[in-house]
């Protein structure tokens, strides 16, 4: 299920610090568990999260197996100019999810 929720203000004053909350639906299987039959369950996690603001990277996170399912990542950035924020999640087994949001700076 590649489903994401991004919450951030639609409008901000120039120079204002805005908070961005992101939530991605993912099981984050650690790779350390075994099935009832004793077989190792392969790792299946989100490995990377990147946010770009008008093409410039403003936030990046590398995720590890210790991170809970459906990771919630909250961060801040400075509203410099109107434009688009792109969010990208990459993971094991070719997992990708993307989201974009507009920010209007006044």
């Amino acid at each position: 299920m590649a489903r994401t929720v991004v919450n951030m203000p639609a409008q901000a004053k120039r120079g204002e610090i805005i908070e961005i909350k992101t939530l991605a639906g993912h099981t984050m299987e650690t790779g350390f568990r075994h099935s009832e039959r004793g077989e190792a369950i392969p790792r299946d996690i989100i490995t990377q999260f990147v946010c770009t603001y008008n093409g410039v990277e403003v936030f990046r996170a590398e995720l590890s197996p210790a991170i809970a399912a459906n990771p919630l990542i909250t961060f801040t950035t400075v509203a410099t100019e109107s434009g688009t924020l792109e969010f990208k999640w990459l993971g094991d087994k070719g997992f990708t999810a993307a989201h974009s949001a507009k920010l209007n700076v006044v």
Partner: protein
Amino acid sequence: MKRGVLFTAAAVLVAAAFAGEIPLAERRSGYDFMSRETRAMQDDDATNPGMLWVLEGESLWNRKDGERSCADCHRDAASSMKGVATRYPSVDATGRLLNLEQRINACRVERQKVPALAFEGRELLALTAYVTRPSRGLPIEIKVDEKVRPHLEAGRTAFHRRQGQLNLSCAQCHDERSGIKLAGNTIPQAHPTGYPIYRLEWQGVGSLQRRLRNCYIGVRAEPYAYGSPEFVELELYLMWRARGMKLETPAVRP
């Protein structure tokens, strides 16, 4: 004389059996027992992971399955499903006691002509969360009539019945000892105000019956199968016990 004594003894026994019930005004949702952080997580839709299931439920609601989608008949869930979840489990026109999951499945089989969704599967949980969500903030309203009463009494009996290797009843923990600790955890009053819930321990969304299975295994009793009448009756009693309390779906619990 002897009859009088017997009658008094019976009356005392009945009073003793339900003496431990929590007075209506002192009932508290599991929310009140949670940490500040977990409450904040539930309160904000942007951080509540249960919303991922609600969103998935929305796409299932609009997906054509078999002859029609849910939305083809019920239109906008925000208005058509408002308050519906506060009345379940309930007895339908044919006399069956159904919980909300079973009601959704009955609709699938009878109206959409497609197979029922598996209990505890992602799709049924997502649809149930989506259908319950418009009732958030509304009080639980279980109507008790002559069709419902026998089921309610069966549920009440199950709640007060000692079972499992530990020989414990639900009431012994959740009526008589709620608020004190069981190992590191506070024993909640067991009001099902937020199902389906996102439980941090599960790292996902689960139904009330999944939670009941946990408790059954905890007292080392064999749990009933998903959807069994015994579990639905217990669900009914728990919802009735929480009557008037507000739904929080999708709730987050530790």
